[in-house]
């Protein structure tokens, strides 16, 4: 039942949804974790406990419920800071998700620092959330958006970065620490090192990496870092923007409203301290509190164990998949260079047809462009199928998946 690294049986018992059946009697095989992960009972309980026993708005009121809620909300900030090894808790800004975090930077930092003819560098394997905000900014400012290409092994071509850096016009380089399609783990420290030589700012999209790898911001040494709770056992609607304190201090607020102010007068307002300057309005209190339970859960297992388990599972799946006739696998073959995300195409079966067929066997995978149409163009495909693993997936589930792929091949007479 288990890989050698974690006790999956115990883990699976914590996830009520994994007990359900789909299509009447098929056990759920959930392999769409790169989209969102399932939630353990500890997270569900933390959210429900807040609503049942101490629901209240935070920061302002002086009554006991408000105090409890504020403490729980702010305790999450400390946990997040520790989890990614951030130096200061006030560098952790709660947002709705990775997308909002990146938009916040493009808006609040970008509009102050990117000007006409400047260059913004991103990569060909970005999610749309790390492309579109920069396109908007580039169009508004008359700046240029350039791409680091992807080689045939699914890795970034860092010579492209050097070429752009050498122009002296690059203001920010923004990239994903792990591709949501190829699974490629970016050589982030190397990119940051090269950017630092030119004094160029770096944003890292950690939406796919933080849930699966030990992330250490002190080692990474980037300027901005974004990720989402819901891809790491937490609830939807919570994301983190981490940024260097001095950058946050100089940035204009993204949203104006309650909680982000120090003093408001008729025509002038002074801003609250960090991070509250960037947290206007009543935040998603319940889900932030739920996120703390998700971090606790991952901490208990240990991120090294999570990684080892996923590497073993990915290797097991890749070995089996690569033996299938007519399969095209995307991304690095070496499991030390990739996460537990496997994109593929099988013969001429369109990914939507494939996903429909294997869904009948209870298997949830993703099919389509994965919000990465620039990469689809690069791979010269309109879509791929994608299976992605997490801590509760088993080798037996991989076997069910492979068996179902073979059924799809039979249906399509391949």
């Amino acid at each position: 039942m288990q890989t050698s690294f974690i006790n999956i049986e115990n883990i699976r018992n914590d996830f009520p949804i994994l007990k359900r059946k789909v299509h009447k009697d098929k056990p759920l095989v959930y392999l769409d974790n790169a989209a969102t992960t399932q939630k353990p009972i500890q997270v569900i309980d933390a959210i429900s406990n807040y609503y049942l026993t101490y629901n209240s708005n935070i920061h302002r009121a002086v009554h006991e419920l408000a105090e409890e809620a504020t403490l729980a909300y702010e305790a999450t900030r400390d946990k997040v800071a520790k989890f990614i090894n951030a130096k200061n808790r006030e560098e952790i800004v709660f947002v709705r998700g990775t997308t909002e975090a990146i938009n916040l930077v493009a808006y609040a930092w970008g509009r102050q620092n990117v000007n006409k003819d400047d260059i913004i560098v991103t990569t060909e394997y970005e999610h749309h959330s790390n492309i579109v905000p920069w396109q908007l900014l580039a169009k508004e400012k008359g700046a240029k958006l350039e791409y680091i290409g992807v080689d045939d092994n699914g890795e970034l071509i860092l010579d492209h970065l050097d070429k752009y850096l050498a122009t002296g016009k690059v203001k920010i380089v923004t990239f994903s620490q792990m591709s949501n399609v190829l699974g490629t783990i970016t050589n982030s420290e190397e990119i940051v090192k090269r950017c630092k030589k030119y004094g160029v700012r770096v944003l890292i999209d950690g939406a796919q990496s933080v849930p699966h790898l030990k992330v250490d911001l002190q080692k990474l040494d980037c300027d901005f870092f974004a990720f989402s709770a819901h891809k790491m056992l937490g609830p939807t609607g919570v994301g983190i923007l981490w940024a260097r304190k001095e950058l946050l201090q100089n940035m204009v607020p993204f949203n104006g409203g309650g909680d982000m102010i120090r003093e408001v007068h008729k025509y002038e307002t002074t801003w609250n301290d960090l991070p509250y300057k960037f947290e206007a309005g009543t935040p998603n209190i319940a889900d932030v509190i739920g996120f703390a339970a998700a971090i606790d859960y991952l901490d208990r297992i240990g991120m090294d164990k999570v990684r080892e388990h996923e590497m073993e599972l990915t290797k097991y799946a890749l070995d089996k998949l690569s033996q299938m006739k007519g399969i095209v696998l995307y991304g690095p073959k070496d499991v030390t260079k990739r996460g537990g995300v496997i994109s593929f195409n099988l013969g001429d079966i369109h990914p939507h047809d494939l996903a429909t067929i294997i869904d009948e066997d209870g298997i949830a995978i993703r099919s389509g462009h994965h919000c990465a149409q620039v990469l689809m163009e690069r791979l010269d495909v309109s879509a791929t199928s994608r299976a992605s693993f997490y801590i509760y997936n088993t080798k037996e589930e991989v076997d069910v998946f492979i068996k179902s792929l073979n059924r799809a091949k039979e249906l399509f007479k391949l």
Partner: protein
């Protein structure tokens, strides 16, 4: 609807050997659309002569359902009266495909071709025939498909 019922021989055949695949040079109607959820793309070209469909072709990328649906639709309307084409409904398309109980995610694949056709007819009615009453009706039907 089970996969075995969806991916019948005939659907696979139209997917792999699409009839009327290609483009018409200087067509009377050229219309393109895509499904933003899955990225399926479809472009249809038509020539209208003496109130009949004189020629129709399509190009596209997408799943077996969307591509077979488009190809079978071109066969259905080839040579037919313009009035007949104007009146085609969602049920006609699903009947033609033999697919009736598709789920909400996949029915869009089957109906993309009709949506493209109706949008194309709308432009034709407005620009060439100046028939805004029929055009508005078609536009409403197209937007009601999904």
């Amino acid at each position: 609807m089970s996969s075995a019922d969806i991916y019948r021989e005939i659907i696979l055949d139209y997917y792999r050997n699409p009839r009327n695949y290609g483009k018409i040079t200087d067509p009377d109607i050229a219309q393109r659309d895509s499904n933003p959820l899955c990225g399926d793309e479809l472009e249809m070209h038509l020539n209208i002569k003496d109130d009949k469909v004189a020629d129709v072709k399509f190009t596209g990328k997408g799943c077996a359902i969307s591509q077979a649906s488009a190809s079978m639709l071109t066969e259905l309307i080839m040579g037919k009266d313009f009035e007949y084409v104007k009146k085609l409904t969602k049920e006609d398309i699903l009947d033609n495909l033999g697919l009736h109980d598709l789920g909400p995610a996949r029915i869009k694949c089957a109906l993309l071709s009709l949506k493209v056709l109706k949008s194309g007819l709308y432009s034709y009615l407005v620009d060439k025939l100046k028939d805004t009453a029929s055009a508005d009706k078609i536009k409403e039907e197209a937007s009601g498909l999904f």
